[in-house]
């Protein structure tokens, strides 16, 4: 199955994607590969705006019919926006993982962490293992 892995995003080995919105804020979601693995996403639990997370901490819950998955903060920082649309339409993560299915926006507390994320090519390699 062909995977959609946009070149301009950064990735984690736990299948989150990260997009620079501006110098200090990133948008975060789950990858096309992750949504395909889960299929049938039926519920999303989002964190409160203002909450701070360290990189790697559990930040959201995404539930498919078959399973409950934790989504980890790919970078440290403060939640500045959440995608409220997902509360009524969690299936947008399936239909549009990289745009309408975004999860949260994080204000970076350490910009250098961006450099530790995977680029598209490395993420692609990870999936082919």
């Amino acid at each position: 199955m062909s995977e959609n892995i946009p070149e301009d995003l950064k990735y984690t080995d736990t299948h989150e994607w990260v997009k620079m919105k501006n110098e200090k804020t990133v948008v975060v979601g789950i990858t096309d590969h992750a949504q395909k693995e889960l299929t049938d996403i039926v519920f999303v639990e989002l964190p409160p705006v203002g909450k701070e997370f360290k990189k790697g901490e559990e930040m959201c819950i995404v539930e498919s019919i078959k399973s409950v998955s934790e989504i980890y903060a790919p970078v440290s920082g403060k939640i500045v926006a959440v995608n409220k649309e997902l509360e009524d339409s969690p299936e947008k993560i399936n239909s549009s993982p990289y745009s309408e299915g975004w999860l949260v926006e994080i204000e970076l507390s350490n910009r250098d962490e961006i450099n530790s994320l995977l680029d598209a090519e490395s993420y692609k390699k990870l999936l082919s293992k």
Binding site: T39, D40, V42, F43, E45, I61, E63, I65, K66, V68, E87
Partner: protein, 373 residues
């Protein structure tokens, strides 16, 4: 020692059809082919084909076969005529359920029993022990590895099957059964299932023969929009109808009174576990399986606690989203004083509580597809 999961004789076909797999009771079976939701709705609205070869097959023979089944199940098997079947349960002396099962009274006097996945050996040994202790001329044989069971379920299942089966399924009643040929392949056909829809099951031996039948059903069924259906949708379909899943609803030992199966108990005959059930019935203070429909957003799941005013009153045995209702639904064992229809309880999901209402079974009525075209 490594225990490898058993694979269905149809495994390669499932791979070819793009299935994702899951391990269920020691069997590697299709979880889904496309999407659990799509597969679920296709069974409610059209027709679906399931490989349920993980289910067991036990044949019971001998002149006392009916007496054995009467003693070992909630039903008086003498009441069940040839070409008819019965859904029932097999109990221990203490009234707890060993397995729930369907037995079919075949036209040649034999009985075909379908235990749950991974339960046929336990059930077979139990039945043979009961036969021996009671000097009955009856023998149970576990033939699970020699059969594949295919289920054809959904409002269009009869229209599909009519085209390839050699018996009159027009007039086959619910739980009816017979020997049949499907495009020349021998099988035991019954009007049974686990979806709450019109549906049929075919027990096919030898297993190899099931491949042709599987393909024939997919080909002939094109005009009815047939789709292969995995265990994911099988689970949500049965949950919407409040059918029990042995591993979930019988966990820890449950009696038919607790599991909401009192309607199956034929009190007018003697059976193993009857005295224990009579005592429990008189006492009355036992948890009962209860249907909860979520008011707030959230997905209840197996083993989540249920509370009333902060006090634990029960536990979810099965839960998920209902693809038809688009709401969380759950079966939960609840203390008797908290389960009145209309009561509002809290289901604890991680660090949150969501409200759920006690409702009458089933969650999804038989008219749902007609009312939601």
């Amino acid at each position: 020692m490594i225990f490898l999961p058993l694979r269905s004789p149809l495994h390669e076909i499932h791979v070819e059809l793009g299935a994702k797999f899951t391990i269920f009771a020691g069997h590697e079976m299709p979880l889904q082919y496309t999407s659990i939701r799509d597969e679920h709705l296709n069974v409610r609205k059209n027709v679906g084909l399931f490989d349920v070869s993980h289910m067991g097959n036990v044949i019971i023979e001998g002149k006392d076969a009916a007496r054995l089944l009467s003693l070992a199940t909630l039903e008086d098997a003498n009441r069940i005529e040839k070409n008819k079947g019965q859904y029932t349960a097999i109990l221990r002396e203490d009234g707890t359920i060993i397995d729930d099962t369907i037995f079919l009274h075949l036209p040649d006097e034999k009985y075909a029993l379908v235990p749950n996945a991974g339960r046929s050996e336990v059930v077979t040994n139990w039945l043979n022990d009961v036969a021996e202790k009671n000097n009955l001329d009856a023998k149970a044989e576990d033939v699970s590895r020699e059969y594949v069971i295919l289920a054809i379920q959904g409002p269009k299942s009869r229209d599909l099957l009519r085209k390839i089966i050699d018996i009159d399924i027009e007039n086959m009643p619910l739980f009816g059964c017979d020997y049949a040929k499907v495009n020349g392949v021998d099988c035991i056909a019954s009007r049974t299932g686990y979806t709450g829809e019109l549906g049929f099951e075919l027990q096919i031996t030898p297993p190899e023969n099931s491949k042709k039948v599987f393909y024939d059903i997919l080909n002939v069924g094109k005009e009815f929009n047939v789709k292969p259906i995995g265990l994911g949708a099988r689970d949500t379909l049965r949950l919407e109808k409040c059918f029990l899943l042995a591993g979930n609803e019988f966990e820890g030992g449950r009696t038919p009174l607790e599991a909401g199966l009192s309607w199956l108990i034929n009190w007018d005959h003697d059976f193993i576990g009857k005295n224990a059930l009579l005592r429990q019935k008189q006492d009355g203070k036992y948890e009962r399986l209860t249907c909860l429909e979520c008011i707030d957003k959230g997905i209840p799941r197996h083993s989540y606690m249920v509370e009333k005013n902060g006090k634990i009153v029960g536990k979810v045995s099965s839960g998920n989203i209902s693809p038809c209702l688009n709401k969380g639904i759950a079966l939960a064992y609840i203390k008797p004083e908290y389960r009145e229809v209309g009561s509002i309880l809290d289901i604890v999901i991680r660090d949150k509580k969501i409200r759920a209402k006690v409702v009458k079974p089933p969650f999804v009525s038989k008219d749902w597809a007609r009312e939601n075209p």
